[in-house]
């Protein structure tokens, strides 16, 4: 409370202090940006030819992971978790790929809109089940992960289907400058268009409120059940975007869920979102997935054995979170 009022006062008086306060509030994200920049420099050092194709490849590889991370971050911020995220992405992916196959480009637009609605519906089902049945979110979403994965296999038993041509073109290549990959632009636009307005509305405030203290939020007049359902619905929308990005990058539908659920949880943790809810942003997890992907690329450049690379990736994840927490504890003591 005192920190907040102090920030407001000094913001009028001294812009330098306001900047420092902003930096303190976003210390974790800034730390991640610093780590990412260091990692990019390191990448360039070990692979001097790393350049435009590398950055393009990074952006397109990161896109489904980043959308999954944003989806997971939203429910975690509201104090929940969703273990059916990967299955949802697979279901949306196969529905889009089967509906778009052999259809016109214009019909593809309708399919994409339909797929987004499907994602909203899947998320709303998860949220409603959790709120109405009062069964813990981990149990409900774990069960639903089998339901959605099963539906995905019913829709498309083996990989196949197709995609409208404009969808892959939307995320491959660059926009204007060759250093600006379309996939990154799409990610920024999508997150900015959906998340920023939500964050600034009553929904965003309620979402953080129920995440940090459900009882206090309830006593302040926040409708906890409705907000939780909306958080899962919003997650469903981002899961659908993630599923569509899979259709866009592979051009087909794949019914078996990829490793997105667990990677999204890892990215959320690395991104500085408290698993207890209420603290963090969706930007940290996006930085988190870029870092995780770039570490994997570096392992390839360094010819590290793939099995060992997986071990190292896990250790780096723990290490970064531990160091980050230590720095935060020291900063709060100072």
């Amino acid at each position: 409370m005192s920190a907040l009022s102090g920030t407001v006062d000094t913001a009028r008086a001294r812009p330098a202090d306001a900047l420092a306060a902003w930096a303190r509030r976003n210390a974790w994200d800034l730390g991640l940006v610093g780590f990412l920049v260091g990692l990019l420099v390191f990448t360039k050092l070990i692979q001097p030819s790393y350049g435009v194709p590398g950055v393009q490849g990074l952006a397109i590889s990161v896109l489904p992971l980043a959308l999954a991370a944003v989806a997971q971050a939203i429910v975690v911020l509201s104090g929940g978790i969703d273990l059916s995220l990967g299955s949802m992405m697979a279901l949306v992916n196969v529905v889009a790929a089967t509906q778009m196959q052999g259809q016109s480009e214009e019909f593809g637009v309708a399919v994409v809109l339909g797929a987004l609605l499907l994602g909203l519906a899947l998320g709303a089902v998860n949220g409603s089940l959790i709120v109405l049945t009062r069964v813990p979110d981990i149990v409900v979403t774990l069960a639903m992960s089998f339901v959605w994965a099963g539906f995905a296999l019913l829709v498309l038993p083996t990989p196949g289907g197709g995609s409208a041509k404009w969808l892959p073109e939307l995320v491959t290549g660059s926009l204007g400058n060759e250093w600006i990959p379309k996939a990154a632009v799409v990610l920024i636009i999508v997150v900015a268009l959906i998340w920023i307005p939500v964050r600034r509305s009553w929904l965003g405030l309620s979402l953080y409120a129920i995440g940090s203290n459900r009882l206090a939020a309830f006593r302040s007049g926040v409708s906890v059940g409705r907000t939780r359902i909306l958080a899962y619905t919003l997650m469903g929308l981002f899961a659908a975007l993630g599923g569509l990005s899979l259709t866009a990058s592979t051009g087909i539908g794949i019914p078996v869920p990829g490793p997105y659920t667990l990677l999204s949880v890892a990215a959320v943790v690395l991104g500085g979102v408290s698993l207890a809810g209420g603290r963090g942003s969706v930007f940290g997890p996006i930085l988190g997935v870029i870092i995780l992907q770039l570490i994997r690329t570096d392992m390839t450049f360094l010819d590290v054995d793939t099995n060992l690379a997986t071990v190292l990736q896990g250790l780096i994840l723990i290490g970064v979170v531990m160091i980050g927490s230590l720095v935060q504890i020291r900063a709060s003591r100072a």
Binding site: G38, F42, L45, I46, Q47, S49, Y50, P53, G54, G57, I60, S61, P64, P157, T158, P159, G160, P168, T172, L246, S249, T250, G251, I252, I254, P255, V256, G258, P259, Q293, R296, T297, T300, F301, L302, D303, D305, T306, N307, T310, R330
Partner: protein, 368 residues
């Protein structure tokens, strides 16, 4: 004070890592003009004997060729999107050729086109891809399934129920085998397939196959069938039947060490009748040899009967344990000492691979 010293320690650590890393790249640089850097991507089946042998033969062939200065192997379980990212990493690494076992026949095409644009030769092994510039080298999987299915249906006298245990859903080899299986099934109207015409997917994953057959045995369904067709997940099925104290039904498997050993062991597995269809995993090594030929601009003879252009098809053979002659042939396959029992026995491909069996088993590539 403490913060400053922590920072210094961190900086020293980072610097040390960077120095170590740059030393690594120095060692990996090509020593002569005639050597190439090759990337290898395997996107699934980690721990499966076929995939492990395939990767090891690739390493061995790269080593003995003397023309490969570095072989970067990415061998992990992932989806098609993950393999796309692995191939792109190999492109960024600046390799001269990429040999890969595809997770899907069409999904990797965007990255393969990028490889072509970067002047990188691409070779798909074990299955084909639809990218027109990629060379495909694989076992004729349609024929593979046809040989085993025909043997099995003939064993049953053209009448009975068969449990159809397939591989990895969506893998081109699995799709081709399904075509072959159904080609033969058409000629046998009195053969019934369970659990349904499309079979069950083992994912070529030993634990999954074991779970499937155990469920099948426990539910009593096993007592209603007369034969089993497997897509190479064979020895665990035989062991599960033995553990359940059920009589064996004729079974189709691959030329995997453990299965061939079971076929030749009438004491341990009394009454076991089976056929082993060859599906050499040395496609990994042959793929490296093919990539080197392409890099040197040598001519490659392709098979016009394949579904894709630029395809080299390898022919499978089927050998059962029913006659002395065929048993002697199975025995001759077992001649490699030290071979992992889960590896396919066909460790070489004539005209393509030049390593010794010991080199394949050692699983050592160039530069490490």
């Amino acid at each position: 004070m403490t913060q400053a010293s922590t920072r210094i320690r961190l900086l020293v650590g980072v610097a040390a890592i960077m120095v170590a890393a740059s030393a690594c790249t120095g060692a990996a640089s090509p020593s002569g003009a005639t050597t190439y850097k090759i990337g290898y991507s395997n996107g699934g089946g980690v721990g499966n004997g076929f995939r492990e042998e395939q990767v090891c033969t690739a390493k061995a062939q790269a080593l003995v060729s003397g023309q490969v200065s570095g072989l970067t192997t990415i061998h992990r379980n992932t989806d098609a999107a993950g393999q796309l990212s692995d191939i792109r990493d190999l492109i960024s690494k600046g390799v001269n050729a990429i040999v890969f076992n595809p997770n899907d026949k069409a999904a990797l095409n965007p990255a393969l086109q990028e490889a072509k644009a970067a002047g990188i030769k691409t070779v798909s092994v074990d299955a084909y891809v639809t990218d027109p510039n990629t060379y495909n080298l694989y076992n004729n999987q349609v024929k593979y399934a046809e040989l085993g299915a025909k043997w099995l249906f003939d064993q049953l006298g053209g009448k009975g129920t068969v449990y159809y245990m397939r591989g990895l859903a969506g893998h081109p080899a699995d799709s081709d085998r399904d075509i072959g299986f159904k080609n033969i099934l058409k000629d046998y109207p009195n053969i019934k397939v369970v659990p349904n015409a499309n079979g069950v997917a083992t994912g070529w994953d030993p634990p999954t196959a074991t779970k499937l057959i155990n469920d099948f045995l426990a539910s009593g369904q096993y007592d209603t069938i007369q034969g089993i067709w497997t897509s190479g997940m064979d020895s665990m099925v035989v062991d599960a039947i033995k553990a359940a104290h059920k009589p064996f039904v004729p079974i189709v498997g691959a030329d995997l060490g453990a299965f061939v050993k079971q076929l030749l062991d009438p004491v341990g597995y009394p009454g076991l009748k089976g056929v082993a269809v060859t599906n050499t995993a040395a496609v990994g090594g042959a793929g490296i040899a093919l990539a080197l030929k392409l890099l040197k601009g040598e001519a490659v003879t392709t098979d016009p009967s394949a579904s894709q252009p630029n395809t080299v098809l390898l022919k499978p053979v089927a050998v059962d344990n029913l006659s002395d002659n065929s048993k002697a042939q199975l025995k001759s396959w077992q001649s490699v000492p030290g071979l992992d029992p889960n590896w396919p026995l066909g460790i070489q491909i004539d005209g393509w691979t030049t390593y010794t069996p010991a080199q394949a088993i050692a699983c050592k590539g160039p530069g490490g």
